[in-house]
Subunit: 318 residues, 2 copies
């Protein structure tokens, strides 16, 4: 099977149509109508087999996840997705595998009407790079650099589920069926696009929790030039995680350093009100987990007794 | 060494500045000012170690080549580069290697003032994906689909050098110094951006020669719905290739099927004049190598005796 018949038979039909795609898959490049006065947002994420997902990870989940992690970056900028490109390296041309992969990719794109507009398929160790292009009204993009002392720190959803889910996936001794929803949180993260939009003009800083809460909030602290103080016991944990076989220390490690949850962590100045109030414009639950303080960039944790300790810095890629 | 210190120390300084970059490397995504009325052009290419370049390939050449092959796709659309993102997967964080790689990437970007605006660094088998974003005035993009019977087929520069250069690289028995310029053609291809711009509004179809002339012109034939007839003996070969130790059959194979030359192959209707005339608006030599004919999509070759034979279909990725 050659690259080109795979592209035309399996990929082009899953591309999706949009009026701002002048020319999609099948030429040297894609032609795209720019988003008027909005600003373009470009994000890119790579998933490597054995590093970011286990060997044997289902292709439909891989396709979904490769898109979702990029949409999560767009959400953290307050942006809406428009187009993606796919660079897929795989050991051999396996039509069944590719069809499942494309099904997952399509499922992740469909809710936002995002179109796959181009890509490259190559032979080699399994590795997926998706680039997503989106847009945000000029001046309203969320960044990491605007947090100020006194701003409150919030996080959406629950943390630690995805790390627990990955642990379940890697532990062959375990009955996975009982922990499906944790595995699902790893396999098919939900990008918080609506929340990101709702935060435009309100949040002073925003980041998605991909490498682990502490490491990610450390980026905000560094870019904003102040310190983050987290109330460890306030960090939201799911019922599924609490019901699992993990110690409280393991649960805390999953939540603080596990990563892969793709929730949004953001800061709000005290005068915009409490993001937990029923009037808050987003359907996603959010939890207040700390506040920014004056001082050199750092991440500190405060436990139930009020004791403050420095926290580590999250996932390292090398 | 962690990912983030590598990014800030080695990558950010090589990013390049542009007035249309609102926010570059260092946040969840890049913020880019769209190109007014122009159409955006998105291209992406992956280079995998051992597949697209040999193990031990110099990192400075790899960085250069990863950009140049993408710019070649933009050239084939008549577009100008604006921004790139870099997804770099490498087995370990090697600062010396990365510095050399970034030097090559920067050298390829500098002539056009293209900025590196984001990326992702991951651990795994060596693999580079660059996405380039460019622009072209609306309605003037070159595609593969407009060639008509009677159009003349041209190619820029010479073909076969890069394939010969790769053969030199892979052949440890050979004295490489004597064939430096062939190796250079593989290692540092020249994207034909000025020629692509000059062809706007003139060429009926255009493609870059990346997979091999026959395979690439077959895309034009398929997209345009007609046949391509190549005059085999008209295909331009360099003095370096002619001086090499290859048989005439090997040279022909390099030129017809070798790929990696990143020249432009394009079609002109008879009434726009001959692209070889001195009045032609591009500094790159071009050669007429055949013409389009009525009939089902196919690539045919005509030898010096006038005999017409079907040709194969070029590089297969799997």
């Amino acid at each position: 099977v050659d690259e080109f018949s795979l592209i035309y038979d399996l990929i082009a039909p899953a591309a999706g149509a949009r009026s701002d795609v002048v020319l999609g898959i099948g030429d040297d490049g894609a032609l795209l109508r720019p988003p008027g006065d909005d600003v373009l947002v470009a994000v890119v994420d790579t998933l490597v087999e054995g590093v970011h997902f286990p060997v044997g990870f289902p292709p439909e989940d891989l396709g979904y996840r490769a898109v979702a992690v990029n949409f999560s970056d767009l959400a953290a900028m307050g942006a809406e997705p428009r187009w993606i490109t796919l660079a897929l390296t795989m050991p051999r041309a396996d039509a069944g595998w590719l069809q499942a992969f494309m099904g997952g990719l399509r499922a992740a794109c469909a809710p936002t009407g995002t179109a796959l507009v181009g890509g490259d398929m190559t032979r080699g160790p399994l590795c997926v790079t998706v680039q997503a292009l989106g847009s945000v009204p000029a001046g309203l993009a969320l960044t990491r650099s605007g947090a100020r002392p006194g701003d409150r720190i919030y996080v959406s959803g629950c943390l630690g589920d995805a790390a627990a889910g990955l642990a379940v996936l890697l532990d062959t001794a375990v009955d996975r069926a009982s922990e499906t929803c944790l595995v699902e949180r790893f396999a098919r993260p939900t990008p918080r696009l609506a929340l990101g939009r709702a935060l435009r003009g309100l949040a002073t800083a925003c980041i998605d929790v991909s490498d682990g809460l502490v490491g990610d909030i450390a980026h905000v602290a560094r870019a904003s030039g102040c310190a983050a103080l987290l109330d460890i016991d306030a960090i939201p944990l799911s019922a599924a995680l609490m019901a699992g076989r993990w110690s409280s220390g393991q649960r805390r490690d999953f939540a603080l350093a596990g990563g892969d949850d793709y929730e949004l962590c953001f800061t709000l100045p005290p005068d915009v009100g409490d993001a937990r109030s029923p009037a808050w414009p987003s359907g996603v639950p959010v939890t207040r987990i700390g506040e920014m303080h004056p001082g050199p960039p750092a991440v500190l944790g405060r436990d139930a007794s009020g004791r403050v300790v420095p926290l580590g810095s999250g996932y390292r890629h090398f």
